[in-house]
């Protein structure tokens, strides 16, 4: 059975100029696999990720036929039940660790809190688990890192701490929203390899949201390409370069390449029909 089934998801924001549809009727399912969602800013990829966890704030509206997590419709749960789902069943890693860690609490205390939030047990045991998780994300001097404050660690280290924290309750699904965009190229791969390894090892489902096509094609099994709130194409990650949709091709062609020299990069010409075509099922 699929871990997650989403049918006809809409995210709407009422504005003074009328209702703005950020996500327009998206349907897809997620198994124990790594699913990438790519698109430009404003394509609705992050909103899709947030809508799954019901993190869209009012006045935003989330509508769907269903968002089933192993057969249970998340939209029908109360806010209290939803809090049980967040973290424990589905976790989320956000873009910048600077904004997602509490700046005035040590890393260790935050990790211990994350554990105690979902598990009963002594503080000593929580501490042991926290240290173990830090070692799982390749942090060597975990005892020292436990005592540091978020501003004392680098971006790459911060993001690894976030991943550790999200994995402590052992969720079934991890949603990673641009987890490495704030990091250097050399650190990016390291963080992604760690995340990839943990996801595989635990048989989790991963939703990897990114604007970076190459990164997604390397770290995912399947890719959804979003444009103007809809899925325009679904393809196998390793066949991304044979993508059929002109939007996907346009995005790929607009990247400068090291192996080809050219004077001008090709520019994407947008066709209004792309946003009119019905959403592809993913």
């Amino acid at each position: 059975m699929n871990l997650l089934d989403i049918e006809d998801l809409w995210v709407r924001f009422p504005t003074r100029q009328g209702v703005f549809d950020a996500v327009r009727g998206v349907s897809f399912s997620l198994g124990r696999e790594r699913l990438g969602i790519v698109g430009e800013s404003g394509s609705g990829k992050s909103m899709t990720g947030r809508a799954i966890l019901r993190l869209i704030r009012k006045p935003g509206i989330v509508e769907a036929n269903h968002i089933n997590l192993e057969g249970r419709d998340l939209l029908k749960l109360s806010e209290r039940e939803m809090r049980e789902v967040r973290g424990k069943q589905i976790s989320m890693v956000m873009q910048d660790p600077k904004f997602s860690l509490n700046p005035v609490v040590t890393v260790g205390e935050q990790l211990i809190e994350a554990y105690l939030q979902h598990n009963s047990g002594s503080k000593a045991r929580a501490r042991k688990m926290a240290i173990e998780m830090l070692e799982n994300v390749s942090i060597r001097d975990s005892e020292r890192v436990m005592r540091t404050y978020p501003h004392e660690v680098s971006g790459g280290m911060g993001q690894r701490i976030m991943i550790a924290m999200m994995l402590i309750p052992n969720p079934k699904i991890l949603i990673a929203d641009e987890p490495t965009s704030a990091l250097d190229v050399s650190v990016q791969r390291q963080v992604l390899n760690i995340m990839d390894g943990l996801v595989k090892e635990r048989g989790m489902g991963l939703i990897f949201i990114s604007h970076d096509l190459n990164l997604v094609s390397e770290f995912c099994d399947r890719v959804l390409i979003m444009y103007a709130g809809r899925i325009v194409e679904v393809c196998e990650a390793d066949k991304l370069h044979q993508a059929q949709h002109p939007y996907t091709q346009g995005l790929l062609n607009s990247l400068p390449r090291l192996d080809e020299k050219c004077n001008h990069l090709s520019v994407l010409t947008r066709d209004p029909s792309w946003s009119e075509a019905p959403s592809v099922r993913g």
Partner: protein, 250 residues
């Protein structure tokens, strides 16, 4: 002619035990009309070199010559700003939120002591591929790419010879990045500009620059041509490491 000549540049922040040496003994030479790239991880000092040239990093030593003239201290005169201009990374932060495009450009032209401001604003907008309908808009009414075009127009207002580009496209989508990079290529060809461009993205630097320097921990570890980068034959171990990290992602 050498447009930009930097020898033994040191830049530091703070005093005594708080002192951080951001750039250590950097040397580079950019010929007129050439495009030179600086790559490295964040914190390697690449942006600091640009900031030292424009006087935004006041503590520096060594020699910086712009078209043969030596700079000193942090003060820069009006003539300097007619020669050298900078484009910043974040188009969301570098434009005044309550000034229209017209105000931004007219004020800059006025400060450069130019006349015919109305005509010049029209020309500048046309140069960066923005129509007249953008002239009276505020930054929040523009997309990221359009804002960066305004920032480029502002830099071009004083008709400079040298543009310092600090990650000009890293905040933009790839499709918009292509448009802005093409614009920069065209402007360089049309106006004979010299570029010193900072980026952490090797393919972008290889596309835009003839020469590049790889920086680490404030030092330039290697200067090479972009063809060396393309053929994958840099000499220094660290350059190869950087190259491997970005080739694997292609």
């Amino acid at each position: 002619m050498i447009a930009l000549d930097i020898k033994g540049l040191n830049v530091w922040f703070g005093y005594a035990h708080d002192r951080v040496d951001a750039v250590k003994g950097a040397c580079l030479e950019v010929k007129q009309g050439e495009s030179f790239g600086l790559v490295g991880e964040s914190g390697s000092g690449k942006s600091t070199i640009l900031r030292a040239i424009t006087g935004l990093a006041p503590h520096w030593s060594g020699s910086v010559r712009i078209e043969g003239e030596a700079l000193s201290g942090a003060k820069r005169d009006r003539r300097f700003f007619r020669t050298v201009q900078m484009v910043f990374q974040d188009p969301y932060a570098s434009l005044h939120p309550r000034h229209t495009v017209d105000q931004v450009l007219s004020e800059t032209l006025h400060l450069h002591g130019l006349d015919n401001i109305d005509k010049r604003v029209t020309e500048l907008l046309a140069d960066v591929g923005l129509g007249q309908r953008f002239r009276f808009r505020y930054p929040h009414q523009l997309s990221g790419g359009q804002r960066q075009r305004v920032a480029i127009a502002r830099a071009l207002a004083g008709e400079p010879d040298i543009l310092l580009l600090d990650e000009p496209t890293s905040a933009l989508d790839v499709s918009v990045q292509a448009e802005v990079l093409n614009l920069l290529t065209d402007l360089r060809a049309r106006r004979g500009l010299t570029y010193l461009m900072v980026s952490h993205d090797l393919p972008v630097i290889a596309h835009m620059c003839d020469q590049l320097a790889v920086m680490r921990n404030g030092e330039i570890v290697e200067v090479m041509s972009s063809d060396t980068l393309r053929t994958g034959t840099p000499r220094h171990e660290y350059s190869q490491e950087l190259l491997r990290a970005s080739v694997a992602l292609q």
